[in-house]
């Protein structure tokens, strides 16, 4: 009997390891593409010119004001983009969550199509729409918003518009999921007990949708921190974020240590935000907006 039990346990153990080994190819790819290269950058960032341990790369970040400016811009752009996404994403998700399944699926296509379309395509479209002789300027002058064409692109405004457009689906998808999971009985009961529609929204619906909103906002914010393509194109060199700075350092100075240290700061801030968020939400929820 005892022997049998032992044998069984041994077999379960073996089977578990056998099964687990199916994930080995994926693990190898991740080690080769993520762990080793990022680890290498980590090492480079702490290495001085002579190959010895040094904090020089990080000290430079504190000494030079240009770095502070880059961090400020990154934070500012990420924060504003997230804010715009919340202001636009919440009403749309709210609207869609109350539609019939069929109608919601149709409306959802307007979120999914941009989501699936290359961000280069969308960045290009905004470049054309926002230019001085572009349709947006023409339209605004037509309806009298402003008189002479204003510069909407190759600056912060253009970057924000483009980034908000690209990030919006990342906010809407988890938020919509969270709203769909709110039991209709809750709002119904509140209304039944005499709450006005506005009270029902603020006291019942909104708090229940908060996890989805926080998850979506975090995803947007974290993605913005490391964003490269859109600021590089729509910012026209005037909006220098961390990722832009990293490539600039590599292209102009070929300084791997300096570029790596910026990358490490970017990674650590991303992880910090996610870890903090994970204390309040489940990791699954943060990453995919799932409960």
């Amino acid at each position: 009997m005892l022997l049998n039990e032992k044998e069984l346990r041994r077999q379960t153990f073996l089977e578990q390891w056998n099964l687990l080994s199916l994930s080995l190819p994926s693990i190898l790819v991740i080690i080769l593409i993520i762990i080793v290269p990022v680890g290498w950058l980590f090492y480079l960032s702490f290495t001085g010119k002579g190959g010895d341990f040094s904090l020089a790369n990080y000290e430079k970040m504190i000494i030079y004001k240009s770095y502070a400016r880059v961090f400020m811009t990154t934070f500012q752009v990420s924060f504003l983009t997230t804010l715009v996404c919340i202001l636009m994403g919440y009403p749309l998700a709210y609207f869609m969550a109350q539609l019939s399944d069929r109608m919601a699926a149709v409306c959802m296509l307007t979120v999914l199509l941009p989501f699936w379309t290359s961000l280069l395509v969308r960045t290009y479209a905004w470049l054309v729409l926002l230019q001085k002789k572009g349709i947006l300027n023409d339209f605004a002058i037509e309806i009298g918003l402003w008189e002479t064409p204003i510069k909407l692109v190759h600056n912060l405004t253009g970057t924000l518009i483009g980034m908000a457009h690209i990030m919006l689906p990342f906010l809407i998808l988890p938020l919509y999921g969270a709203m769909k999971r709110i039991e209709k009985d809750m709002t119904h009961a509140a209304a039944n007990l005499g709450a006005t529609p506005i009270q029902v929204f603020w006291k019942v619906f909104f708090p229940l949708s908060l996890p989805g909103l926080v998850a979506g906002s975090l995803i947007v914010f974290v993605l913005c921190l490391g964003f490269y393509v859109t600021p590089a194109v729509l910012g026209g060199g005037r909006v220098v974020m961390v990722a832009t700075q990293i490539t600039a350092i590599l292209e102009n100075q070929f300084n791997w240590g300096a570029a790596s240290s910026l990358g490490v700061v970017l990674l650590v801030s991303t992880l910090l935000i996610l870890v903090l968020a994970a204390r309040f939400l489940k990791l699954d929820q943060v990453l995919f907006g799932r409960n």
């Binding site: 991740i30 290269p37 054309v128 729409l129 194109v233 990674l267 995919f288």
Partner: protein, 272 residues
Amino acid sequence: MNWWNRPATETQITHGKRIWLYTLAAVIMLLLIVPTLIVIPMSFSDSQYLEFPPKNWSLRWYFEYFETLKWMNATKTSFLIGFLTMLVATPLGTMAAYALYVSGHPAAKAIFVLLITPMIVPVILIAIGTFYAFGRIGLNNTIGGLVLAHTALAAPLVMIITTSAFRTYDMNQERVARSLGASRLKAFMLITLPQIRFSVITSALLAFLTSFDEVIISIFISGGVNATLTKHMFSALRDFIDPTIAAISTIMVLISTTLLLATQFLGNKSTK
């Protein structure tokens, strides 16, 4: 009682009182969709300059695209890499999902977190990291290197989609098959896979698109004859504006629309 005065939700608020919400939602949906689709009319413009709406229509940018060796080579490379990434990432991601879901091993959770790191680590860091590491082992500017890097991005997506498919699937069916004498592989292939096939196909399409649309890693580690379409598009966008991009963009929008509709169709099928 007409629609205007009918309650819109369970709170008795009427549609009429919420017309502002409908208008706002419509405007936001337009803002989402118009910049995505506007490249289509733009691509048929005759002008050298970026303009919308076009004054004269022509196909010149499509001819330009199809007749330029640089664009054609890049398109072939992108398709090839996307296709290979799909072929590698789909089985890899599905295997990992199966392993972590079925084994119940204490390490499964840690491995899951390890496997989704490509979704957490900023892509710019992956890009310069692989550029540096590939430089040492001679994988820069190779098809193999790009496929490997794109697989790292696509496999976690596949794993997540198939994991949620496993969650809705009754694993006991596989147990029955095995108790009747099927090996684990046979039980998976004959019983499980056919039932989760729509999720697997969806994840495969997404894997292709992940690779096909990927920009930052491609900028760094692709080059020469193996430069991808996105790499050329990015430098064209940053340095000088070439209306050929509108034609290419239109083709890319068509590809993503087709794939999206395919997954929606598959999604409908799998929930029925």
